[in-house]
Structures are given as structure tokens and as C-alpha cells.
């Protein structure tokens, strides 16, 4: 989808832009470096706290929309007991979101908002969140493979505003009506985008593709997986290297597995809590009878890959179940992360 408008921004005005955007919301979530040096998307108070010199954070900013642990509702003691909803939060701006994570948010929107069930917690949070993307053309992380999933280095949709450093200037693209309103508030900081910016953007994309270290031929893996041409032994080999930590699911910005539990609090209230879970874990699909349709690690590995890559899932959900963020490359003990699995499937090895 073409941008609604494009502007140019001198880097010297980036902090001013940030300040101006901050005024439009109650809270800004941006990448920030925390001791001993990790980058997390956290609430920041000013532009000096923002870190833009990073590849990608290990925890996706998606965690601000679909929380690792969140209270769903609370039952207050009394006669009769009273049910109180949870989750009231102010307007937020997610700043410097990478295009792969934007693609993941698109996928979560489908899952939580457009299916048979609508998730009110996610919907409320999503409706109050503005998204400012930061393209990756100049900063590919060695683990990234977004080009293989067609999610980067630039976002083509899903953002309100998108920033990208092209040469010595930022290109600011407007992707939504909300983004246009934001841009209007910053109009005095912006300049019209010259044609050379667009040309520079295109050149950057080519250079970015050439420089990617992780490469995964996803279409070939999708074809092979969907035609059921994958040897069974391959899943055994993957399973032997999977140590069952669940980390791939926990860092995957597209994964939506969760469990719910009821917690009794000190004030006597009962809170239903939802927390991230993983279909890579044995107990996730264990039924009350004790029967488990995916009792073996190889079955879970197969199911996970199928959900990410198989054509029926893509057809149903309109896109790959992997956005190429490369986080699984970092967390997997055994190196059986998504680009490797795609390669193994493609080669049938």
C-alpha cells in the first residue's frame, strides 16, 4: 500500500519530532537500553532515553499489546460477588517498531479481532495504540531474515508513521489517517520529501537484501511442507535438538498460545490471569483424561512448523506465520530455529 504522504526530516529534528508525538499520547513506549546493556521496549520519558542503534530487541514490542501476563477480570468478594473488568490503560505510542513486528501485529489483529472470538483486552489496547515504525534498511541484525518473509526492511502497511534513515535524512511516511493527523501536528518540523529520498530508499532495499546473513527460502519450504513431502525422520532430528524450553514461542511475536489461571489475592478478590504459554511444551495439549494428542516432542515440532509455514494456515490467515524477526535464532539452544527448520524442510534432510 503506498504511503499517504512522505516527508523529509533532518536528523537534528528527530528529538523534536519525538517530543511532539509524545504530546499526543499518555505514554510512549520506545526501545531503550537497560543495564547491563539489553534493549527493551519500555516507557520512556524523553528522547534521550531512546536507543535507535540496535538490530532488534529480544522481546518484541508486541508484548505491549499482548502482555506476557495480564489480568483479565477480577471477582470482588461480597454478596453477591462483583465482576470487574481489568485492563484500563491510556493512549500509547509504540515508537521505533521494526517492520517485522508491525507484520506480527497485523497477524495478532487477525487472531484477536477478526476471528470467531473478539478479545476485548487486546481490542481496547490496540485501539488506543499508535504505531511509529522504524525501517531497518541500514541496520539488519545478523539474525534477521525478514526479506524471506516479505516483512522488511520497510513496512508496506500497518503503521501510522514510518521513519527510515536514507542518506543523511529521515524519510517520514504516513500510513494512516491517525498518522496523517500526527504528521500535521509536526508539520513545522517536516519538509517535503525530495525524489532522491525515494530513490535512495529503493537502493537501500537492494543493499539490505544482499547483506542479510540468515536466508530462508520460505516459499520452497511452504511448498514442500504443504505437499506433505517432509520425511518423518526430519521431525525426529529437529526434536532431538529441541530442549523444550518454549523460548521460541515466548519470543515469537506471532505466537498466541496462552493459559489462564485464577489467583486469590490478599484482599480476598479472585483474579483471572492470562499468561503466555507454548505449544512446544508437553502439557499444553494434555487433556484432562491424561491423553495427549501431541505427547512427543517431534509431534509438537511438526505442529509448530506446520502452523508457521503450511499453505492451509497461510490461506486461512493470509500470510506466513513467521515474520523473519530472527528472535528464535537467538533463543534456541539447539539451533533449530525457523530459518534452519525451513532449510531442513526445503532440503528434506
Amino acid at each position: 500500500m503506498p504511503a499517504l504522504a512522505q516527508y523529509s526530516l533532518p536528523p537534528t529534528r528527530l528529538k523534536d519530532l519525538f517530543q511532539r508525538l509524545s504530546q499526543a499520547v499518555d505514554q510512549v513506549i520506545a526501545p531503550t537500553r537497560v543495564p547491563p546493556g539489553d534493549v527493551f521496549y519500555d516507557v520512556v520519558q524523553g528522547p534521550d532515553e531512546v536507543a535507535l542503534d540496535f538490530g532488534n530487541s529480544l522481546v518484541s514490542p508486541v508484548a505491549w499489546l499482548y502482555r506476557p501476563v495480564e489480568e483479565m477480570f477480577r471477582v470482588l468478594p461480597g454478596e453477591p460477588p462483583r465482576v470487574e473488568p481489568c485492563g484500563e490503560e491510556g493512549r500509547r505510542l509504540l515508537f521505533a517498531v521494526r517492520p517485522c513486528d508491525l507484520a506480527a501485529i497485523g497477524r495478532l489483529d487477525q487472531f484477536f479481532l477478526e476471528g470467531d472470538f473478539r478479545d476485548d483486552l487486546y481490542a481496547a489496547r490496540r485501539a488506543r495504540t499508535l504505531l511509529v515504525a522504524l525501517a531497518c534498511a541500514t541496520q539488519a541484525d545478523p539474525r534477521c531474515f525478514c526479506s524471506c518473509c516479505e516483512t522488511g526492511p520497510y513496512a508496506e502497511q500497518g503503521f501510522d508513521l514510518q521513519l527510515s534513515l536514507v542518506g543523511d535524512r529521515y524519510l517520514l511516511e504516513v500510513g494512516s489517517e491517525s498518522g496523517a493527523a500526527l504528521a500535521e501536528q509536526c508539520r513545522d518540523l517536516l519538509e517535503p520529501a525530495a525524489e532522491d529520498l525515494a530513490a535512495g530508499r529503493a537502493q537501500q532495499v537492494q543493499a539490505f537484501y544482499a547483506g542479510l546473513e540468515q536466508k530462508a527460502n520460505m516459499p520452497a519450504a511452504v511448498r514442500r511442507l504443504s505437499s506433505e513431502a517432509v520425511p518423518v525422520e526430519l521431525w525426529d532430528r529437529i526434536a532431538s535438538r529441541c530442549l523444550g524450553c518454549g523460548g521460541c514461542s515466548f519470543v515469537c511475536p506471532v505466537c498466541t498460545c496462552f493459559y489462564t489461571t485464577d489467583q486469590v489475592r490478599e484482599d480476598g478478590s479472585i483474579v483471572r490471569v492470562r499468561a503466555w504459554d507454548s505449544c512446544r511444551l508437553e502439557g499444553y495439549t494434555r487433556e484432562a483424561s491424561g491423553h495427549n494428542p501431541r505427547a512427543h516432542r517431534r509431534q509438537r515440532a511438526e505442529r509448530f512448523s506446520y502452523h508457521k509455514l503450511a499453505y492451509p494456515c497461510i490461506q486461512r490467515e493470509g500470510r506466513l506465520g513467521c515474520v523473519g524477526c530472527g528472535r528464535c535464532v537467538t533463543v534456541c539452544f539447539g539451533g533449530v530455529h525457523m530459518p534452519r527448520v525451513a532449510q531442513m524442510i526445503r532440503r528434506g534432510e
Binding site: V34, D38, L243, T261, Q263, G283, T330, G335
Partner: protein
């Protein structure tokens, strides 16, 4: 929302993580990419560490005589109980502290034992788990043992791993082994059973139960004197059940190694003799000047190093006569009248039945901990203490690096900071007011613990790297190694054709009450609650049973009927029992074998018979 760096509170890997706090509650633990141990990876326990503080198994209020009590009443009851028995002399009292305590808490525990109770009977749970092998390394290397940082495993060109269980027991180390293999390293796995790592190895060297020390001694002598093995060595290998071809390949790989990593979990390699041979191999290879060899002993508890450095050790040192070790305190009959248990339940070592029996032998049992355990239920007084995430402090990791822990949430229930409890307890007993605040405790550590004198605690708290130099031990005792090491004799015969092997590295963390409070971990461990045997599928077929059904196992010590699980990694003549089922292990394998020098304990393999009860 706030975020704070921390070290994982489980095993000795010391993985870095960030604790996420929202609305005053600890909600998540997320990995640190820049921390050297984990580099962004956490095992399942680590990922779920964020749920520990709000666990449903927390001990929330003081208990006295099995009932809820006020702090004042509970402290008075504890002080009276101990004071009454202190009159019988310090030898009647004992103190045990967990390897999960911070350095400051461990220091306060030592002060309480030595200054308030004046007892030499002091030990820590971590040593009971990994003391045997650490002792063997330290006494052979003649220096206090510090492990290199774990990522260095990945840079080895040859890895000899003696724990096939690492995939489940220590995924971080297994991950670095897999990374090394990917980079072309030769990975040799030598073990008595295969618990998963064999499939990822280049060479698998199987030996009989109880034959590890013999194998390592022959390996050492073969590396030291290249050429044909002597008849005696060949005979030893045969008795150890080691394939001669695999042994020759292993020797060749080790001789060619430029950087050798010798990796084992202290829950697998438990005897000083085994560890001494490992140290000898490393010294031999390093002495050539052409090779670099390093030992990576993977410890069982997060502050295993720190609690020993802080002096949670018996009397004047382990080699001296004065002061009882953990296993000696728990032995039957115990010489103790009163026992103070801090940070963990005793059932982990003696089982629930064993704990009941111990409780009957003791006149007074005091428990200080953050979680409800069988020990807290049986204690005369149970006092709730703050835990990881609720206290400031430090851990000393396997490489000697000191890392800060911060309080991120307020204390749960009525729990209090351990040093403050111990100070009040000491005063209530008529003892001195012990230091209870961080600056005083750290000053005490700097004064008393040699390797920590130069530590700048303010820099540590700010997250700057600091390393405690190794704490020299005053102990000195030679590891007793037979000149010709032979496999542990197992009196197998037609009546008892199988060997029962009690393994400590088979889901041992399932018995950690902290892990059991985390919903996902609780769910994933559902299969590890009740005792079970692991046998070869062929054994299962021979006995005309199948997985999930029960077999009766009999040894010279007793008999039990237990459900079985099948694993092709267990040889047909071996039956494996996880160590954490303490009551069953004691009933079948007898009392622990106690090593006189290291004062560590372990089970020796024993001959066993299997019978299908439905056929008898």
C-alpha cells in the same frame, strides 16, 4: 512498569535475566542477551522464574506448633526451643543453609551459627549436591575450583561430556555443546546410560554403572603413555563394559584436541575419585604445552559457589574432625537435638518418610524459608523469609563473577529478610545483635572472606562486573584413589541379574518447591511427582509388561512395586531410579555412601531383580 536485571535463581549456570514488574507484581522473567552465561537463552525454569514470588506455595505467616502465630510469639517460641537445647552444648545444635541464599544471607547464616549458637555443625545444601566432585577437583588441582564461563565450551574443538542428561538437566551447557558440534567440534559422550545427548554426539562411549572412575583412570594413563594398552588396562576396560574401539577413538580425539572442554554435571559425577581423574587428565594435557584443556563442572544451585565462599561449611573446614556435615546431621541416629533449616526443605535429602523419622529423633526443628515444604509442616516453628525478587543481595556465579540481585517487589505476606530474622532470633536467645543490613554484612564479608576483600560492593550493585578471586581452603586431604581403579563391584547373579542405578540428574529439579509453584512448570512436571523406574524397552517386553504398568524390583535392601517407563538409552541390564524419590531410593539402594573426606554422599549401584507382579 519497571524492569530490573537479575540472575536466575535455579541451577548454577547463572543466566542473566530481566524481571518485569507491573502494578507491584513480578510478572515475567525475560532473558538477557548481553549476559555472558545465557546470551539470550533460558531453559523452561528460567522462563517461568517470574512466577516464583507470587507462587501459591509461599509460606506467608509464621507458624508455631502447627498454628499461625504472630512474629513476636513465633520468635519467642523459636528462641526458647533452641535455648533449652543449647544448654546441652553446641554439638547438639546444627544449621543447614540452602545454595539458593544470597551471599549476604549466607554470611548472616554463618554468623548466626558461629556467634549465636556457637556450633561447628554448619553446612549447605549445595555442597551436599555437588561437593563430591568439586572436592575431587580442588584437592587434585590444589586450587579452589572456578569454572570458565560456559560460552567457552562452544570454542572447544573436542568436548568430552560425562553427563548424557544435559539436554534436560542443563540446557545451557547442552546448547553450547551443540553449537560447538555445529562448528565442527568432536563431541564425545561417555556415560552409563543415555539420557538424550548421545544422538548429538560424534562418539558414544558407554560404560557399566559404577565404572566411570575406572574408565577415567585408564583414559588418563593411556593419554600419558601412548601405545598399546597393557593387559591390566584392557582387563579394566572390559570389566567397565567399555568398547575397545570406542575407547581408542576417544583417546585419539583427545590427543589431537587443541582445546578440550571436559564437561560434566555435578549431579552426574558425584565422587571425588571420578573428579580427581578428570583433573588429572586436564593437568596432563595442559602440561604438554600444545593443548588447552578446561573442566566445566556444572553446579546444582544458583549460589553454590557463594555459600561455600561465605563459610557455610562444617566447623573449621571439611577435612577437620570438628563440625558435622549435612549428611552426618541427618544420619540415623543423629547426634543433634535441634536443627535450624534455612531456605529449603530437608525432604529433598531424606524423603518425606525419612523426614518424619528425623523429626521424631530431633527435639526441636526450626525452619526459615520462603516456601511451604514438608519441613515447614513438621517444624516446631516455621518463619517466612523473603525470597529472590524480594531482597537485595548478590550471587557468585560458577566463574567467580559476582552479580547483583535487587528487590523488585515488596515482601509477600509477612515474610521478612533473613538476616533481620536471625538478628532478632539471636537477641531473643540472649546472643549478640548480629549484623542485618547490607552494608554491615558486606563489610563482614570483605573482612572475613579472603577472595572478596577487594570487591567494590557499590559497583556490584550498579551492575559493573566484579570477580571474587577464589577463596583458598584451609582444608587439605588427599583424595583416596586406588592405584588400580576398578568398577564398583555389583554382586549380580541369577537371582538379581539387573543393576539398579540411582541417578541424581533425572528431573531432580522436579522436587524444588519453588519450581512447583509456577503453573507451567507444575504442569510440565506432572509426570515426575510419583516414583518410577526407567528400563530398556526390551526388558519391558521380556517381562511381558508395558510402559505405565508396574514391576516389582527387589534388592538386598528391600523391595518396591513401581510403574515403569521405557527408554532405549538405558541398557537392558540396568534399571534407573531418579534420586529425588528419596524414600524409595533408600529402600532399594540402602543408605547413602558417605565419602569421609568430602563429606558428600551418593548411592552406589546395587544388584536387583525385576518381576512382573501380574505373573507371580
Amino acid at each position: 512498569m519497571s524492569r530490573q536485571f537479575a540472575i536466575c535463581p535455579f541451577c548454577g549456570c547463572g543466566c542473566g535475566m530481566h524481571l518485569e514488574v507491573f502494578d507491584g507484581r513480578l510478572i515475567a522473567a525475560l532473558p538477557s542477551q548481553v549476559h555472558p552465561a545465557g546470551a539470550g537463552r533460558l531453559c523452561l525454569r528460567g522462563w517461568q522464574a517470574g512466577t516464583l514470588v507470587q507462587s501459591s506455595r509461599r509460606l506467608l505467616v509464621p507458624q508455631a506448633a502447627g498454628k499461625q502465630a504472630s512474629w513476636e510469639d513465633a520468635l519467642r517460641a523459636a528462641a526458647e526451643g533452641i535455648r533449652a537445647l543449647a544448654a546441652e552444648g553446641p554439638q547438639a545444635l546444627g544449621v543447614l543453609g540452602s545454595g539458593y541464599l544470597t551471599n549476604e544471607e549466607a554470611s548472616a547464616t554463618r554468623l548466626y551459627a558461629t556467634q549465636a549458637l556457637r556450633t561447628p555443625n554448619l553446612d549447605n545444601f549445595a555442597w551436599a549436591l555437588d561437593g563430591g566432585s568439586i572436592w575431587g577437583l580442588e584437592q587434585t588441582l590444589c586450587i579452589p575450583y572456578r569454572s570458565p564461563v560456559l560460552p567457552e565450551i562452544a570454542s572447544a574443538d573436542v568436548i568430552l561430556c560425562l553427563s548424557s542428561s544435559l539436554c534436560a538437566d542443563n540446557p545451557q551447557a547442552a546448547g553450547y555443546i551443540m553449537a560447538a558440534a555445529e562448528a565442527g567440534a568432536t563431541v564425545i559422550v561417555a556415560d552409563e546410560v543415555d539420557q538424550g545427548l548421545r544422538e548429538l554426539s560424534t562418539l558414544w562411549v558407554q560404560h557399566k554403572p559404577g565404572a566411570r572412575a575406572a574408565l577415567l583412570q585408564v583414559l588418563w594413563s593411556a593419554l600419558g603413555a601412548p601405545g598399546e594398552l597393557s593387559a591390566k588396562q584392557r582387563d579394566t576396560l572390559q570389566q567397565a563394559g567399555v568398547d575397545a574401539g570406542a575407547f581408542a577413538e576417544m583417546c585419539a580425539a583427545l590427543r589431537k584436541a587443541k582445546r578440550l572442554a571436559l564437561v560434566f554435571s555435578t549431579t552426574t559425577v558425584q565422587t571425588p575419585a571420578e573428579a580427581a581423574h578428570i583433573a588429572e587428565i586436564v593437568m596432563l594435557l595442559n602440561a604438554s604445552g600444545q593443548q588447552e584443556a578446561a573442566v566445566f563442572a556444572l553446579r546444582a544451585q544458583c549460589n553454590s559457589v557463594g555459600v561455600n565462599d561465605m563459610g557455610l561449611v562444617p566447623g573449621e573446614g571439611r577435612a577437620r574432625e570438628r563440625g558435622l556435615s549435612l549428611y552426618e546431621m541427618l544420619a540415623e541416629p543423629t547426634p543433634l537435638r535441634a536443627l535450624v533449616v534455612i531456605g529449603e526443605g530437608l525432604e529433598k535429602f531424606v524423603g518425606e518418610q525419612g523426614l518424619q523419622a528425623l523429626r521424631e529423633r530431633l527435639d526441636f526443628l526450626l525452619y526459615l524459608g520462603g516456601y511451604q515444604t514438608a519441613t515447614s509442616e513438621l517444624a516446631d516453628v516455621a518463619l517466612p523469609m523473603t525470597t529472590w525478587g524480594e531482597t537485595e543481595g548478590t550471587f557468585t556465579c560458577h566463574d567467580g563473577s559476582i552479580w547483583p540481585l535487587h528487590q523488585v517487589v515488596p515482601p509477600t505476606g509477612e515474610s521478612r529478610y533473613l538476616p533481620e530474622i536471625l538478628r532478632d532470633l539471636s537477641v531473643a536467645q540472649g546472643g549478640p545483635p548480629l549484623p542485618a543490613d547490607l552494608p554491615s554484612l558486606r563489610a563482614e564479608i570483605s573482612r572475613q572472606v579472603f577472595g572478596y576483600r577487594l570487591v567494590n560492593w557499590e559497583q556490584v550493585a550498579a551492575g559493573q562486573r566484579a570477580v571474587a578471586s577464589a577463596v583458598p581452603s584451609e582444608d587439605s586431604a588427599e583424595v583416596q584413589i586406588p592405584a588400580d581403579e576398578l568398577p564398583v563391584p555389583i554382586e549380580a547373579g541369577p537371582e538379581r541379574p539387573y543393576t539398579l542405578l540411582v541417578r541424581r540428574d533425572t528431573g531432580s529439579w522436579a522436587c524444588d518447591p519453588r519450581a512447583r509453584g509456577a503453573e507451567i512448570v507444575e504442569r510440565e512436571l506432572a509426570g515426575h511427582r510419583a516414583p518410577f523406574l526407567v528400563i530398556n524397552p526390551q526388558t519391558c517386553r521380556n517381562l511381558e509388561t508395558r510402559e505405565g504398568r508396574s514391576l516389582t524390583i527387589s534388592t538386598a535392601f528391600g523391595s518396591q512395586t513401581l510403574p515403569v517407563r521405557c527408554s532405549p538409552g538405558v541398557p537392558p541390564e540396568v534399571v534407573m531410579l531418579p534420586w529425588q524419590f528419596r524414600d524409595v531410593a533408600r529402600a532399594l539402594a540402602g543408605p547413602l555412601h558417605l565419602d569421609a573426606a568430602s563429606r558428600a554422599g551418593y548411592h552406589l549401584p546395587v544388584a536387583a531383580a525385576l518381576e512382573n507382579p501380574s505373573q507371580s
